[in-house]
């Protein structure tokens, strides 16, 4: 597609957002503790909190658009949102289609499996069904680097975790950052493989060519990192959900 848009008619430029008074941010709706909707129907989580902070610093209101993993790119490209804060891992393919700002989290692919039949080595997965969500780095990793593993591909996080609980695959692969959380609230499961494939980062993303918002976001991330904002965010939003398996430095980037 052609995603060229000059800054003059760019509806997502900083000035345009300020003029509208709202920023549209894509978040997950079913991924505790990053972006989800709690019992009271409120959007909460690590990413959501960051989104509120971003809006506050921009001096505008925030409007959330709930996305699934496989439509984060298109949400940007089709001007449905201005910014994606949905656990968006930076990959070479994605870099070609969107612009990533500075990262705010570390991540790599992990594999969760039942405690009574734990998967600890990738070789255990050969010829078996592994559950993933469409459009995630886990899917890309297994599709390109582990061709002997059979994948069951779902649209949403709810669907993939339900499928694991129903025993539709021997294990589930996704970003380790939320597998930690999920396995804590589902104690029958364990993150048997903590990290496979390349280490990568999670970053905010904007539409390609949206220099104005990209620069602003980069400055914002730097500023927030300096203020140790992410450590705080980790402690309030993530820590309660993580088991002993994780510590802040597994997730949050060093304050430099």
């Amino acid at each position: 597609g052609n995603s060229k848009s000059s800054s003059s008619n760019n509806p997502s430029s900083v000035s345009a957002i300020k003029k509208k008074g709202t920023i549209r941010i894509a978040v997950f709706g079913d991924l505790p503790p990053y972006g989800w909707v709690n019992k009271d129907g409120k959007r909460v989580g690590y990413d959501v909190k960051l989104a509120h902070q971003v809006a506050k610093d921009l001096g505008v209101k925030v409007k959330f658009v709930q996305v699934n993993a496989n439509n984060r790119v298109d949400a940007l490209n089709s001007n449905k949102v201005d910014l994606v804060l949905a656990n968006f891992t930076v990959t070479p393919q994605r870099k070609q289609v969107v612009s990533f700002a500075k990262p705010y989290m570390k991540v790599s692919v992990g594999v969760v499996s039942p405690k009574n039949k734990p998967v600890t080595k990738v070789s255990q997965l050969q010829g078996k069904n592994v559950i993933v969500t469409k459009g995630t780095t886990a899917e890309t990793y297994f599709t390109t680097d582990q061709k002997k593993v059979k994948l069951l591909k779902f649209d949403s996080k709810t669907q993939q975790f339900n499928a694991l609980k129903n025993g539709r695959g021997v294990a589930l692969a996704d970003d380790n950052s939320y597998l930690y959380a999920w396995s804590k609230s589902n104690p029958k499961y364990t993150v048997g493989i903590k990290s496979i494939g390349p280490k990568s980062y999670i970053a905010p993303a904007v539409k390609k060519g949206n220099k104005s918002l990209l620069n602003w976001t980069n400055k914002e991330i730097t500023k927030l990192t300096k203020k140790s904002y992410f450590v705080n965010d980790y402690n309030t939003e993530l820590k309660p959900y993580f088991g002993k398996e994780a510590k802040p430095s597994d997730i949050v980037l060093p304050t430099k």
Binding site: G1, N2, S3, G29, D30, L31, P32, W36, V37, N38, K39, D40, G41, V65, Q66, V67, N68, N71, D74, N77, S78, N79, K80, D155, S156, K157, T158, Q159, F161, N162, K165, S185, N186
Partner: protein, 229 residues
């Protein structure tokens, strides 16, 4: 064990949230139906004209919407419209548009079918007393085709309502999407919540659609009785 899970529905604001989601669903279906039916009536009428290019174009429109699954239509519009035509709508409005166009296509076929099934001699009787084409439609064809159209239209409405279930795929906050949020949020407190939440949604759809299809059946039965004397 399963019965304990039912309370997930009444935890916090869950039930009202589900109803809210249902309202989104119903609203999209209703608005799409209203616009789609109006569009379909116009197109259906046009399709009875003898103008060949017009008929071919309208036929292609119908075939496109009839052949492409609604899920795919949604994605087509969702992905392609904004980028190729710089035409941007929030997901729920976009869904309404897609559904309306789809309803318009199906409706045009219903209307055309009903219009051409008005007996030929009725048209001739109309002509014989000097009615012009517009008057023929206004006083003879349209009123007489209504009894055929109404049951078919109600059935179409039930189909549209059922099809709203796929809205979840383009992240409209419909009843199913909200249901998934609730399932996820209450995952460890109510492991059987999935059963009850989907069960309730199942019931919601049934409660909306069943009366409609019952009504359509009754109208259809009465029409047949009338037709057979």
């Amino acid at each position: 064990m399963a019965h304990s899970g039912i309370s997930v529905l009444f935890e916090g604001t869950n039930f009202t949230r589900l109803l809210g989601g249902l309202w989104v669903t119903v609203k999209i279906a209703a608005v799409a139906l209203i616009f789609g039916i109006i569009l379909g009536i116009i197109l259906g009428g046009l399709r009875t004209f003898k103008n060949r290019p017009l008929r071919v174009v309208l036929r292609l429109y119908l075939e496109f919407f009839r052949v492409v699954p609604t899920v795919v239509l949604l994605f087509l519009f969702y992905y392609i419209l904004p980028r190729q035509m710089n035409f941007n709508l929030p997901a729920d409005q976009l869904a309404t548009l897609v559904f309306a166009l789809w309803v318009g296509a199906e409706m045009s076929d219903i209307v055309r079918g009903a219009l051409i099934s008005v007996p030929r001699h009725q048209i001739e009787s109309g002509k014989a007393i000097g009615l012009n084409r517009f008057q023929l439609y206004r006083y003879v064809l349209i009123p007489q085709s209504l009894t055929l159209e109404i049951p078919a239209t109600i059935n179409l409405a039930t189909r549209v309502i059922k099809t709203t279930s796929i809205l979840l795929l383009i992240s409209v906050m419909d009843v199913i999407n909200i249901g998934q949020q609730i399932i996820e949020a209450n995952n460890h407190t109510y492991p059987t919540g999935v059963f009850w939440v989907y069960g309730l949604i199942f019931l919601f759809y049934f409660l909306i659609d069943y009366p409609l299809s019952w009504w359509a059946k009754r109208l259809e039965k009465r029409r047949l009785e009338k037709a057979n004397g």
